[in-house]
C-alpha cells in the first residue's frame, strides 16, 4: 500500500525512502508542492494514452483467454508510469523498455496496427514473428527491442547514453525495469557504469510489488529501491507511481540534469501489479486478493481524470469519444492482424547476420526442400 509521503522538493538531495507525490486521491495538487505545467492539450493526450493502455489490455487479455492470442502481459494499474516517463522525453531520446510499458510505445507513435501485428507474429509484425507477444521493437521511434531476460537492457541503456555523450549529442536514455530486476547483476553493473561515466541515463524502476509470485520483501532488504542509488553516487527519488503529475515532475527534473551533463538518476515509482504476471499466471495462488482491491482504489487513471476535472478539461463525452476511437482502431488492427499469414519460412534465416553465410544458405535450402509442417503458423 502506498505510504502517504509529505510533499517535498522533487530535486535531490532528498530522502530516497520518502514518497514524493503531487496529486492527492481526489486529484488536487497537494499544498506546498509546485506542480509542473502541463498544457491542456497534453493533459488530454495523456488521458487518452492511459485509456488506450487500459482498453487494449482488457481486450487482448480476453482474446488470450479465448485462445486467439498466444500470450499477453497487462499493466493494469501501472499506466501512469509509462506516460510519466514518456512525456518528459523528446523524440531523439531513446527508451529501453521492459515488457510492461506499452504506453511508452504508444506515446512515441507506435500504432495499434504494429502493436497487434507483433502480438500475432504475422507477416507484418515489425519483428518478423521472431519474438513472443509483447516483445516490441520500433527503431524509427528510438524504442529499443524488448528482451525477455530480465535486466539486460540496463547496461545497454547506459552504453547508449555514454555513446550520446561521446558523440557530443545531448540525447538521453530512459530505461524501464521492474523492482525484481534490481536484484540482477545487470542492474548493479549498469548503475555503476552510469555513475562512473556520468551517463545521461534515467533508471526507471516500476516497483509494482511483485515479481511473478515473489513479493517485494523477498526481493531485497533495503527500505526502498530508490535508496540503492546511493551505492552509485547518484540521486534516487521515490515517487508515487499512480500519480502521473508527480512522475512527470520527477522525470522532467531527471531529464534536465541528464541533458545538462549532471549525470544519471534512479527513479522508483511505487505502484502495484493488479493483474497476473502474464496470461500464464494465476496470482490467486500466492497473494491475497484484498491487497488488489486496496490498490484499485488508488487507480492512476481515475486520479488523473479527477485532476482533469478540476482543470475543467474532462467530460464524459470526450471520454466516450476517445474510448470509441481507440476501440475502433483496435478492432480494425485486430481484424487486419488475424487476416494475415505467418512470415514466409525463408525469412527464418534472415537477420542472423547482415548477409546469409554459406552454412545458413545450405540450411535454408534444406529447410525449404525438406518435409514441412502442414501449418507452420501457430501465431493465433
Amino acid at each position: 500500500m502506498l505510504a502517504k509521503g509529505q510533499p517535498v522538493s522533487v530535486s535531490p538531495p532528498r530522502n530516497p525512502d520518502e514518497v514524493f507525490s503531487i496529486l492527492d486521491e481526489d486529484g488536487n495538487v497537494r499544498k506546498g508542492v509546485r506542480a509542473p505545467e502541463v498544457p491542456d492539450e497534453a493533459c488530454l493526450k495523456l488521458y487518452r494514452g492511459l485509456l488506450q493502455v487500459r482498453l487494449v489490455d482488457d481486450r487482448y487479455m480476453k482474446l488470450q483467454r479465448q485462445g486467439r492470442l498466444g500470450f499477453y502481459m497487462q499493466s493494469t494499474g501501472e499506466e501512469a508510469t509509462h506516460f510519466g516517463g514518456a512525456y518528459a522525453l523528446r523524440d531523439s531520446d531513446w527508451v529501453f523498455p521492459s515488457y510492461r510499458e506499452p504506453g511508452l510505445a504508444f506515446w512515441r507513435g507506435y500504432s495499434l496496427t504494429d502493436f497487434t501485428n507483433q502480438l500475432f507474429g504475422n507477416c507484418e509484425d515489425p519483428v518478423k514473428g521472431r519474438q513472443m507477444p509483447v516483445h516490441h521493437s520500433a527503431r524509427w521511434l528510438n524504442f529499443v527491442s524488448i528482451s525477455s531476460p530480465v535486466g539486460t537492457q540496463i547496461p545497454q541503456a547506459v552504453g547508449m547514453a555514454m555513446a550520446a555523450r561521446i558523440s557530443k549529442k545531448d540525447d538521453v536514455a530512459l530505461v524501464y525495469f521492474g523492482e525484481g530486476a534490481t536484484s540482477t547483476g545487470q542492474f548493479h553493473v549498469g548503475m555503476n557504469f552510469a555513475g562512473v561515466f556520468k551517463a545521461p541515463c534515467i533508471f526507471f524502476c516500476r516497483n509494482n510489488g511483485w515479481a511473478i509470485s515473489t513479493s517485494r520483501e523477498k526481493q531485497t532488504a533495503s527500505k526502498s529501491f530508490a535508496v540503492k542509488a546511493l551505492a552509485y553516487g547518484m540521486p534516487g527519488v521515490l515517487v508515487d507511481g499512480n500519480d502521473l503529475l508527480a512522475i512527470i515532475a520527477v522525470m522532467e527534473d531527471a531529464v534536465k540534469r541528464a541533458r545538462a551533463g549532471e549525470g544519471p538518476t534512479l527513479v522508483e515509482a511505487l505502484t502495484y501489479r493488479r493483474g497476473g504476471h502474464s496470461s500464464s499466471d494465476d496470482p490467486n495462488a500466492y497473494r491475497d486478493p484484498t491487497e488488489v482491491a486496496a490498490w484499485e482504489a488508488q487507480d492512476p487513471i481515475e486520479r488523473w481524470r479527477r485532476y482533469l476535472v478540476k482543470r475543467n478539461l474532462w467530460s464524459q463525452e470526450l471520454h466516450d469519444r476517445y474510448a470509441q476511437e481507440i476501440t475502433d482502431e483496435m478492432m480494425a488492427a485486430l481484424k487486419h492482424a488475424e487476416s494475415l499469414g505467418p512470415p514466409p519460412v525463408e525469412s527464418m534465416f534472415d537477420d542472423v547476420f547482415a548477409e546469409l553465410p554459406p552454412h545458413l544458405a545450405e540450411q535454408k535450402a534444406e529447410c525449404l526442400a525438406g518435409p514441412r509442417p502442414k501449418s507452420g503458423h501457430g501465431g493465433h
Binding site: R130, H135, T184, T214, M348
Partner: protein
C-alpha cells in the same frame, strides 16, 4: 502404480529425497509457496518450510552461487533455474566455479549441486523460452549432464543425481512436461547416470536422441516403419558421461546413424556423437551420419514448427540414411 507426468515425477523425487535426507534443500525463483512456474516444487514449501524451500531474489548467479556455498557446508542443494534460457547470468558460477571446485581444490571441496532446469521448444516461447543449451555444459569438464524423456526416468535419474557427489545439470524437456505420462513406482529407485536405453529395437539405422526428441523420434520411427524401415532408437538419458558402448554396439549392428536434437546444429551435441562414432566405428559406417537439428538461427516464435525437428524430418533422414 500411479501414472505421473514428468512434473509430478520430479516433484515426487524431490519430496522423497527431502524426506529421506535432511541435507536436501530447494531454491530458486518462485519455487516456494507458488511451487514454481511449472509447479515442479508444488507442495514442498508447505511440507518442508521456508528453510528448505527458498524463494530467492531474481538473480540466477545468486541462486547458483549460494547453492555452491551451501554444498561446501554439507547441504545438497537442488536449485531450479526457471527456464534454461535464463541460466546464463549464472554461467560464470557454473563453468568457472561449480565445475572446477573439486578439481581446483585438489579434491578438498566437492560441490554436489543438482541444477534443475526446463529446456527446449515447442511451447511457443520464442528464443527466450525455448533454448537447448546442453552442449555448453557437455563441453565443460566437471559437469554431468542428464536429460530424461519420461516420468519413470525423470524420477530415477533425479534421485541418482541428488545422491551423487558431482554437480549435475538436470535438464527437463518442458514440451513433454505434461504430455509424457507413465507409471512411476511410489517407492525409492534410481537409474544410474551414464546408461543409455534402447527404446526401440531395430536393425537398420541407429537413431540417437534425448529429451523431447525421443518422442519425436518414436513418431518418426512409426512413420518410417509403416514404409518398411526398421530403426533402432536410443534414448541417451545421460549426455555426459555418455554411454559410448550402447551407442557403438548399435552402430556396429546397423552401420547407419541419425542424430536428432533441438539445439542449433553447429557444435551441438550431435557433433560430438558424430565425431565419436566416426572415430571409433568408421569402418562400420555404410552411410554418412545425418544430423536432424534446430537450424543455426536463434529460436523463432511464429515459425517454431518449421525450426524444430519434426517427425517428418527425422523420418526422411531415417529413410535417406537407410537407403544410402
Amino acid at each position: 502404480m500411479p501414472v505421473y507426468n514428468i512434473i509430478q515425477a520430479v516433484n515426487d523425487a524431490l519430496r522423497l529425497e527431502m524426506k529421506r535426507d535432511p541435507r536436501v534443500v530447494v531454491l530458486g525463483e518462485d519455487v516456494g509457496k507458488f511451487g514454481g512456474v511449472f509447479r515442479a516444487t508444488s507442495g514442498l514449501y508447505d511440507e518442508f518450510g521456508p528453510d528448505r524451500v527458498m524463494d530467492t531474489p531474481l538473480a540466477e548467479s545468486g541462486i547458483i552461487g549460494t547453492a555452491i556455498g551451501m554444498a561446501l557446508y554439507g547441504l545438497k542443494p537442488v536449485p531450479e533455474i526457471q527456464f534454461a534460457d535464463f541460466i546464463y547470468p549464472a554461467y560464470d558460477q557454473i563453468v568457472n566455479e561449480l565445475a572446477k571446485f573439486r578439481y581446483r581444490s585438489g579434491g578438498q571441496y566437492p560441490t554436489p549441486v543438482v541444477i534443475r532446469t526446463p529446456y527446449g521448444g515447442g511451447i511457443r516461447g520464442g528464443h527466450y523460452h525455448s533454448q537447448s543449451p546442453e552442449a555448453y555444459f557437455v563441453h565443460t569438464p566437471g559437469l554431468k549432464v542428464v536429460i530424461p524423456s519420461n516420468p519413470y526416468d525423470a524420477k530415477g535419474l533425479l534421485l541418482s543425481a541428488i545422491r551423487g557427489e558431482d554437480p549435475v545439470i538436470f535438464m527437463e524437456p518442458k514440451r513433454v512436461y505434461r504430455a509424457a505420462k507413465g507409471e512411476v513406482p511410489e517407492d525409492d529407485y534410481t537409474i544410474p547416470i551414464g546408461q543409455a536405453k534402447i527404446v526401440r529395437e531395430g536393425s537398420q539405422v541407429t537413431l540417437l536422441c534425448y529429451g523431447a526428441m525421443v518422442h519425436t523420434c518414436m513418431e518418426a520411427a512409426e512413420k518410417a516403419a509403416a514404409e518398411g524401415f526398421d530403426p533402432e532408437i536410443i534414448d541417451l538419458r545421460t549426455l555426459l558421461p555418455l554411454d559410448t558402448e550402447t551407442v557403438l554396439q548399435s552402430v556396429r549392428k546397423t552401420g547407419r546413424v541419425v542424430i536428432a536434437h533441438e539445439a542449433p546444429r553447429t557444435c551441438g551435441y550431435g557433433a560430438e556423437l558424430a565425431a565419436m562414432i566416426a572415430e571409433r566405428a568408421l569402418l562400420s559406417l555404410e552411410a554418412p551420419i545425418a544430423r536432424v537439428t534446430g537450424f543455426d538461427t536463434p529460436f523463432p516464435y511464429t515459425l517454431e514448427n518449421e525450426y524444430l525437428p519434426s517427425p517428418d524430418r527425422v523420418a526422411q533422414a531415417i529413410k535417406q540414411t537407410a537407403t544410402y
